[in-house]
């Protein structure tokens, strides 16, 4: 048997959805489901090895080729960039990046430079760059919704799923930035060196989406 193909999964919801998908393909993922504290787990009948990592690290591992494939959200890809093949939109983990402000706030009024709070400074910067608009971007690590409420920022660029958190805090989406879903990414060399195996797996995945 060849060395297993290593696939890095973003811990949490994307991990669960991906494991569900692998099981739908008929692979035995018991080891991954009963992982305990282990971070590298075999899926023997698929000759796969699952690596569990944080979203940003999934990209890092795939870029360096220590993992052949990865499942990661488009949000992380947009923020991190990087060199890899982005082969499949897996369809799960759907949400969007949006620009939100306090309800009723007229964001585009006036000539003052607006302040944006976000966990995704690169996404926010490139969104406003495309508009040719200068903004001041402040990186926030936790609940970004706080920043406009505390009047640190005029608006936020953040991931929005249902919009409930925004609503409960008196904020509203004023513009969509980009749709998000989980992507299957592949290292550029792995796809070439192990083309047959990876393509077979991808075909199976696509047939079951």
């Amino acid at each position: 048997m060849d060395k297993p193909i290593r696939i890095a999964l973003t811990k949490g919801r994307l991990e669960k959805d991906t494991v569900g998908l692998l099981e739908k393909l008929g692979f035995d993922c018991t080891a991954v489901r009963e992982k305990g504290r282990k971070l590298i787990l075999p899926v023997p009948d698929a000759n796969l090895e699952v690596v569990l990592a944080k979203a940003n690290d999934v990209i890092t591992y795939v870029e360096h080729g220590v993992c052949d494939m990865g499942v990661v959200g488009k949000d992380t890809i947009m923020e991190m960039k990087g060199k890899f093949f982005e082969l499949v939109d897996l369809g799960f983990g759907r949400c969007k990046f949006a620009l939100a402000t306090k309800k009723g706030y007229d964001f585009y009024r006036g000539y003052g430079v607006k302040t944006i709070a976000t966990k995704y400074p690169n996404v926010a910067r490139s969104f406003f760059e495309k508009k040719g608009m200068d903004t001041e971007i402040i990186k926030i690590e936790g609940s970004v919704e706080l920043a406009p409420l505390l009047e640190l920022a005029d608006g936020i660029v953040d991931i929005v799923e249902t919009g409930t958190t925004l609503k409960e805090n008196g904020l509203e989406v004023i513009e969509d930035v980009a749709p998000i879903s989980a992507r299957l990414i592949v290292n550029t060399v792995s796809l070439k060196m192990r083309q047959a195996e990876i393509e077979a797996l991808i075909e199976k995945i696509q047939a079951n989406l």
Binding site: G65, F85, L87
Partner: protein, 397 residues
Amino acid sequence: MKNYDLITPEGTKDLLFGECIIRRNIENTLREIFSSRGYCEIITPGLEFYDVFNLNSRYFPLVNLYKLTDSKGRLLVMRPDSTMPIARVVATRLRDAVLPLKLCYNQKIYLTEPALKGRSDEIAQAGIELIGSQLKIADLEVLSTAIDSLKAFGMEFSLEIGHIGVFKELVGKLEVSDHDKESIRKLIESKNYPALNDLLDSLGNSPVTAALKKLPALFGGIEVFDKAEELIPDENVKHILDELRELYCDMSELCGSDSNISVDLGLVNKTDYYTGVIIKGYLQGHGEEVLSGGRYDKLISEFGYDVPAVGFAVNVNAIQKVIEKNGLYPAMPKADAIVYAEPGCEIAAIKAANELREQGMTVENALFDDIETVREYAKEKKIAKVVVVDGASREEE
């Protein structure tokens, strides 16, 4: 103020001993391969005017370069590439030279990589440029040299060819802005099928958009050519594909039965001065290409001398990484003997050491003032022989 006097800048590192041996071995191996084919070495300055890299087609974005100014305030950059400086030399000092010119180089390039990504900002490259021939045999020579360069390190490798012409033909038929063309290129490069499909769908349905959608999937073995011809019914593209197929078959024949040649029609890289065949080389166990190159028939004309060219560069750092990862460290060289001088006999000792060196031995002069320390040192460094020079006599042990 914080001082940085004990560390090297991010993206750079010191190489010590065994690492240097590996580095020089790689460089010598490649230099031997190049010079045995008649390539002559050329060394260009590490500093160049920014203008050299800022031609019409803007191959190198300013943000990725190390920039500085000279005493007159002119913008200089640390060389981010060797091909452009060599093109400059060819268009100037070598303008009257007999063609074809066969040039090789072995020097470092500098690019700012994103921090904390484990990448080098300083990369040693060794490569060749074959200038002045548009013949197929020129492509073949460069490709076979690329194969030999990858083979030389005894690891599993793969050489991939593509042709920028397919993409350029197709995208040239689309009536879209340069910005959209660049977006399409980027999506093909990253094989981002979902986004590529969305973008092309928004441009309407035509045979061209249908073909562009399929382009990133057209990679693999010989079967790719048949698929491509079926999917892209275009005279010009067919001509390019025929050319590439021929090259592919020739290379497979050269490579033998365990053919490591593949084709990817979706190779559409940035910093692309390429006009024809594109090559990429991979080594098992390294996540990025270790060799890249191709044909660039229009580049030198941007320096005012219209002459075709083809070449490639090997990323020496990458090869070194793979070798070190595989634990293939060479044995550290050690001295065969150490010569110790009793007080007053220093000159005689130096002469004695030289005599031994003339016999082909590696000999250290002992730099201690008592023989016991010398013996300990020799034991520590595994030096087999200690020579004591004492007046007229010479004692070996």
